[in-house]
Symmetry: C2
Subunit: 243 residues, 2 copies
Amino acid sequence: MIPKSHPRYKSLKTRKLLERGVRDGITSLNGLIAHGRGEAFDYLLGEKTHDFARKAIKAAAAMLLLAKRPVISVNGNTAMLVPKELVLLAKLLGAPLEVNLFHTSYERLQKIKKHLEQHGGKNILLPSKRCRIAHLDSPRKYVNPDGIFKADVVFVPLEDGDRAEALIKNGKNVITVDLNPLSRTSQKATVTIVDNIARVMPLLITAVRNLKNDDARKVHAISKIDNKKYLLKALKEITLHVK
Amino acid sequence: MIPKSHPRYKSLKTRKLLERGVRDGITSLNGLIAHGRGEAFDYLLGEKTHDFARKAIKAAAAMLLLAKRPVISVNGNTAMLVPKELVLLAKLLGAPLEVNLFHTSYERLQKIKKHLEQHGGKNILLPSKRCRIAHLDSPRKYVNPDGIFKADVVFVPLEDGDRAEALIKNGKNVITVDLNPLSRTSQKATVTIVDNIARVMPLLITAVRNLKNDDARKVHAISKIDNKKYLLKALKEITLHVK
């Protein structure tokens, strides 16, 4: 047990959660390394939600609400870190959760599906071998015909660059959460939330609730999207921190 | 198998090595996360050995050669990443290798010892429950009475801040390798080599060979140590990269 008074309590608790994810066959070993990269950038960003992230969150909420077929893509890290929040977001949006893994296996897909169901998730979609997106040459190209295949907006937090880019090339609007503003995912996404997924999810849920019944504000929020500016501000924040 | 032509070949190979380390019971899950943090900083440093690292390597070589009782501290990550190099450095210096783990267990200590022996290591030291250093309140306080306990210079690559600080408070000169110039380890060490351990080890071995028989140059190299400057230059490099 980590005492709540520990100055690194949140960060240590998150690590423990992902380590349990590895033991339970949900998180991959590569997922742990990816989490470490995120930790470094979170540290350089002062481990807080900045204004550029709040703006991106609002834009993301508006995009997800205005989408005809929004889909939430789940991997082994997000399944462990924010399962309840993913399920709640899906419910609020009437959007499916679709599991898609970098290091895929039938077993891991099933385990993640079950894990989300244990947190209240319903109709969890899995990729189908009979349905694929173009511009991607790994098992991640497989998608669900009723999910990402038809989606107009995909929320893909903690995604890798190849897949984010392929989704864009397939005509999807892509919202991502990525602590590294220099990553290919960050650079390619329609909207990048440069922040920690654990801090983002509650804020995104609140933003969805706030905007839900206000079409004018949704459209306004989308018209204000300036992803390059969000990324530049994140880089500036890192520079300030290092100095 | 990762093709050698892959632009991220080295980085992917390193990950595979550490994943094997986890499966073999040598690397801890936390070691994977720590590696991810290092990857992020390596990326921000352009994944190359900078001049400040070369200077620190030369100073480290001189310190290790002039030490009366140098010791090389090994953990689960360094054992997997550079076992041959650690063994060769120990041989060149006539210094023992001593295993010390953040997440310790009798089993892991034995596995790492065996792993180093398989790479030619001899007389590998392990911590003893009857011998400890002051100023540290975790199992890492235990050291070997013929190793770190008596050492005047300790080479502790990829170390955590608490232990690096405790070693300093116990009057040791501490040389570390750490990709994060802001870490407590980097800040506290006598000499910090801000670079990737895989690039550092061959350079450190060459530096030891070059300085071995030249006492005047050894003393000169030590007199030039300016760790604050090395760290500031590393930070400057990161800032440049981000811009």
